[in-house]
Amino acid sequence: MILGIDVGGTHTDAVLINDMKVIKTAKVSTNHENLIDSFQKITDEILLDENIDALERIVLSTTMSTNAIVQGKVDKVGMILANGPGLAPSHLKINENTQFVSGYVNHRGIKIAETNKSEVASIRDRFREAHIRHVGIVGKFSTRNPELETRIADMIDNDFIHLSFGHRMSGNLNYPRRIATTYLNAAIWTTYNSFVTEVLKFIESIKSDVPTYILKADGGTSEITQSAKYPVGTILSGPAASIMGILSLAEGTEDAIALDIGGTTTDIAIFADGVPLLEPFGVTIEGHKTLTRGLRSQSIGVGGDSKVQYENDTLMIGPERVGPAAAFGGAHPTPTDAMILLGLTDIGDRFMAETAVTRIADKMGVTVEEAARTIFERSCQKIASSVTDMITEVNNKPVYTIHEILEGKKVVPQVLYVVGGPAEPMAARLGELLNCTPFIPRHAEVANAIGAALARTTAEITVLADTEKKLLTIVEEGIQQSITSKFSREDGLFICREKLRERAIKMGAQENDIEMEIIEDQVFNMVRGYYTTGKNIRLKAQIKPGLIAGFGKEAIQ
């Protein structure tokens, strides 16, 4: 028996899954002041009269980290940046407590300049005076060689609550994102850690040994105490829960589109061969572009309750929502009202819908049916064209080899999954516009909780071997070790798989959920003069987002 809980913006949902079946669902209003309270309430409710001993796993998806950032409930963070030459410091400064230090590592991970001890010490003193308890240390190219960051940490002579290191956030390059990610990680560290402590205390009181997981932005799970080391991984897990929910309620391994049509917005996600696509660099939160792995989704300002207006001979749908549909007492006509008039759905007060849409019809100079049809059609077209743009963007992603230019995969969706309030009335028309077979999954109302419940543990690892420097770096694990000049790609792949497995197990993966995929596999001869001086081997492996073993072959019932 698996318990999945999604603490969402409005509601907190829970599902109990047993034997490929949703056996129970529950819903309460989210208490924004106290998310723990919502979590406890729904857990008590859904587990009432259930056999606690049969509980194998609890997965929680929460807006905890997201809210802390969005609402600015973050700690003051002192940032130490070893930036070296390149982008001007003004582009790197993330808050008023950003300090720059000397020391530079280049693209190959070679330390070009050392850090200055007294410089670091004076920064430390300044942080103390400013009552800063959380510190982020980020070096340019620290993913190529983390030594400078750890040296700075040693020099600080630490009595801070927490130090976040840039190189632990991701193996990927992008200094400004690494700074932002490290900053956010430090800023929410205490808030998130106390949340985890409380969750664990509560779970202890139900059943002490049940493995508990938290959903991350990439649609994967992490064992909850592990997640506390890198809270920034849990930001924006909301859209991920929804996408993973659709994945578990769907079946098949084809290219597909997933739409979550809400009141204000529609969220679009794309599956390639049944796997949700990831953001190419990382997710963006509150204007911060990060290196946090996350599922790719796009939100557009069209939903069932979008305000419909007709001004200057143009019909406008959204992007704002001003209260509910007219049929539910709202002041403005909405796509939902149009769908009621067209008989596509049978909710709300038809008369109120008609009154509102008539105002549009009069301005347009058409009958109310025609106005309703136009509103509905325009809403569907707006969503469809955004989907098409997103697919075009995915397929136009820059690639860097001739092989990929000539033979790169193109995403061509065949199936359209639709969830959300207006899914039923809109799916058919959207399917036509997108040339896809529309499909409305069951249990869509608790899709997020199901998605969380069934998501497997994801992980990523980067192996860099420089046989000229005779050095191997696995930065996510902070590993640097010497190798011989004979070290080969095959040696690298072996280590890459091994370390990914270890990392995944540490994060709570079950052995049979470890489905590895090599996502980067490059070997370059390094030539100086006319002689080969070594090999530059770059490997990256991941456990991609997916469902835990036993699920995913067919849709859950």
């Binding site: 390149g86 693209h107 572009k289 820059p398 860097y400 001739i402 001869n525």
Partner: protein, 436 residues
């Protein structure tokens, strides 16, 4: 530096799976560290820097400007089509108004490729700038174009292609040809009889540094551009003037390249050479991208940069000042000089020997141009590679006058295949390409 942000298109194609040979400078690794640096600096996250996937050039794009022997397919691989296609993509984005300027950071390069292509010379098969420029002229209408070649080698291919074209100003700064491949590019190479003055060569002494390059830019190139008034400025942006380049002997820097691009403000920049893959290219490219996008580049330097150790001697400074004055005078007197040319004969012929260093091909060429006051002039080329494959090409220029066209059609008509394996008719005005 300018502080005005510009929307910059970036076509980045490092071709990680293509090399001339494993240890050749033009190999897989060439743009690896550049990619690292561009990614690490987070340049693609700037709202005003937009990355585009390169398109692929079609045979017709190449046949518009080159005579490939025997055909496009035989002398190009996909890599050349993508590299040229990348330059075209950059041009399109600018001309469509999607961006203010664009940088095609692509390989392999092209500025040593001449009109007739028998193979690879100077790491180049087809001339990616010329292909782009002619694509633009075909699809966006006539343009006066200035190509500023800042590669360390003389761009003899681009010079040859535009030798007779009065609407294309080709300016090359490069290490003195007496000290470097391809050995050409002297001030007296000044353009063909119908286009005198629209080829400008500025050879610089070895060990010229920032000071010298920027002096030439400010006191010669920019004033000439003011006079020429191009519709489009292209930087043929080689990066082998760098002080760490292994195959040249100059002392330019990343900061210098950034300042140069800031002041030159090209509409389109296209990567050419540059083989200091680890210690120069990453920094130069970041500098150029920031400068084009109008973002502060003043902190871009090589980690080991020291202005003192690379500063040019005062002798070099004096030499360059004199040379700039001389070439500027040459430019100012171009029309007088053109008027003095003997225009009594109808045709002028040059015999050329062209060596393809990479492929070891010797080409013997006889090029004939029709003297014409009304257009760039009809050109015919009789070419033979390695004393075997002999071809003949008739090239009608863009905006051709009726007389040159008629003459060209007559010559093509009357030239048979008895002596030549192929006879080509390239009508650049009507965009027609016929082979017999």
């Amino acid at each position: 530096m300018t502080t005005k942000q510009r929307k910059t298109g970036l076509v980045f194609f490092p071709a990680f799976d293509w090399a001339i040979s494993p240890t050749h400078p033009e190999r897989e690794e060439r743009l690896l560290y550049t990619q690292d640096q561009v990614f690490e600096e987070g340049l693609l996250d700037f709202e005003n820097i937009i990355e585009y996937k390169p398109g692929m050039a079609a045979a017709e794009d190449i046949n518009r400007i080159h005579i490939c022997v025997p055909d496009v397919k035989s002398v190009t691989t996909e890599s050349h089509l993508i590299s040229a296609g990348g330059a075209i993509t950059a041009g399109k984005k600018v001309l469509d108004g999607e961006v203010d300027n664009a940088f095609a950071l692509v390989r392999p390069p092209g500025h040593h490729a001449m009109t007739v292509v028998h193979g690879n010379r100077g790491f180049c098969n087809v001339n990616i700038e010329a292909i782009m420029v002619e694509y633009i002229r075909k699809h966006y209408g006539h343009k006066r174009v200035a190509i500023i070649d800042t590669d360390c080698h003389h761009g003899d291919g681009t010079q040859e292609i535009y030798w007779h074209d009065p609407d294309t100003l080709y300016i090359s700064i490069h290490q003195d040809g007496r000290t470097l491949y391809p050995g050409s590019g002297f001030p007296d190479e000044f353009g063909g009889p119908n286009a005198l003055g629209t080829t400008i060569n500025i050879p610089l002494p070895p060990r010229t540094s920032e000071e010298g390059f920027l002096y030439v830019l400010d006191n010669l190139i920019l004033p000439i551009l003011d006079d020429f008034k191009p519709d489009l400025v292209v930087n043929s942006a080689g990066q082998d003037n760098h002080y760490t380049d292994p195959i040249t002997d100059m002392r330019f820097s990343a900061q210098g390249y950034a300042i140069l691009n800031d002041r030159l403000n090209p509409d389109i920049a296209v990567l050419e050479g540059g083989y200091s893959v680890e210690t120069a290219l990453p920094y130069i490219n970041v500098g150029i991208i920031l400068a084009m996008a109008g973002i502060d580049y003043s902190y871009v330097t090589e980690p080991d940069y020291n202005a003192e150790t690379i500063r040019q001697s005062s002798d070099i400074t004096k030499y360059i000042e004199r040379e700039v004055e001389l070439i500027h005078d040459l430019w100012k007197n171009r029309n007088d000089q053109k008027a003095k040319l003997n225009r009594s004969q109808e045709f002028i012929t040059r015999n050329k020997s062209i060596y393809y260093d990479t492929d070891g091909i010797n080409e013997e060429q006889r090029e004939t141009v029709r003297l014409c006051d009304d257009c760039g002039g009809l050109v015919t080329i009789d070419s033979r590679a390695n004393f075997m494959d002999r071809i003949f090409a008739v090239i009608v220029p863009r905006r051709s006058c009726p007389a040159c066209r008629q003459k060209g059609e007559e010559i093509f008509e009357s030239t048979g295949r008895q002596t030549f394996i192929h006879v080509y008719f390239q009508d650049r005005d009507k965009d027609i390409f016929i082979v017999k």
